[in-house]
Symmetry: C2
Subunit: 112 residues, 2 copies
DNA sequence: CTCATAGTTGGATCGTTGTCAAACAATCGG
DNA sequence: CCGATTGTTTGACAACGATCCAACTATGAG
């Protein structure tokens, strides 16, 4: 089991987190991770309406911004929200954003 | 006293709000409006380290995303946070973002 | 080893965005 | 009316970002 490179909790930048979550596809991924917990990239990115390489770029953005943690197990990569880290750094932020996203669902096929 | 065009409360989009606040200059403007209440563009944009036309574009982005309300009085334009509208649409969102921004101050001269 | 699966990387494209400079517009004071 | 103040608009430019496609890597299954 390997862990991919992630920013330390204290290095997570607010503007980076907001930017990451301001993209409909990425916000939808975060919503799915919130609902279902840890999941593989394939599952998280299913029916998003974008090419798998595009989705991969979004996984990277989410990881590098500090929103998700990615670990590799075998040939699968599991993503999960960095709840505790985000809560420690920006209390309440993740929850309010996800609550807001649930109120106004982001369509899976946002047709960008 | 004139009001500039703004999106209706129910038309405010989460991703647009997050995108607006993900830009350091705009986030700083929001923080200032939070601290000092209604203020003119000149005051809000003082010492931001960007040209006044750049600041003007940011005012527009903040307005069009639904984050601020702008009204013209004489030759001045006053901006204020749309607290109630944002609270109604995305409860807690503005406060948590501003709290987070206060924890990790956005430098006025972010040197972009 | 071979093959399929899972996901990344690189290139290309195309639209968006942040920036400055300069011109413009609108308003108020004298 | 004139000039100063306040802010917007337009144009140019560079950087960024989202996207797809194709090629690639890495791993586990058979």
């Amino acid at each position: 089991m390997r862990l991919l490179p992630h920013p330390a909790t204290e290095d997570i930048e607010l503007t980076e987190v907001l930017r990451a979550l301001s993209e409909p596809v990425r916000l939808e991924i975060a919503v799915r991770l919130d609902a279902a917990g840890e999941m593989t990239c394939t599952v998280a990115g299913d029916d998003l309406g974008v090419h798998k390489s595009t989705a991969s770029h979004h996984y990277r953005t989410l990881r590098e911004s500090g929103v998700v943690l990615t670990k590799q197990e075998g040939r699968l990569k599991y993503m999960s929200l960095r709840r505790d880290d985000l809560e420690a750094r920006f209390p309440g932020l993740l929850d309010t954003v996800l609550s807001a996203a649930r109120r106004v669902p982001v369509p899976a096929h946002a047709g960008r």
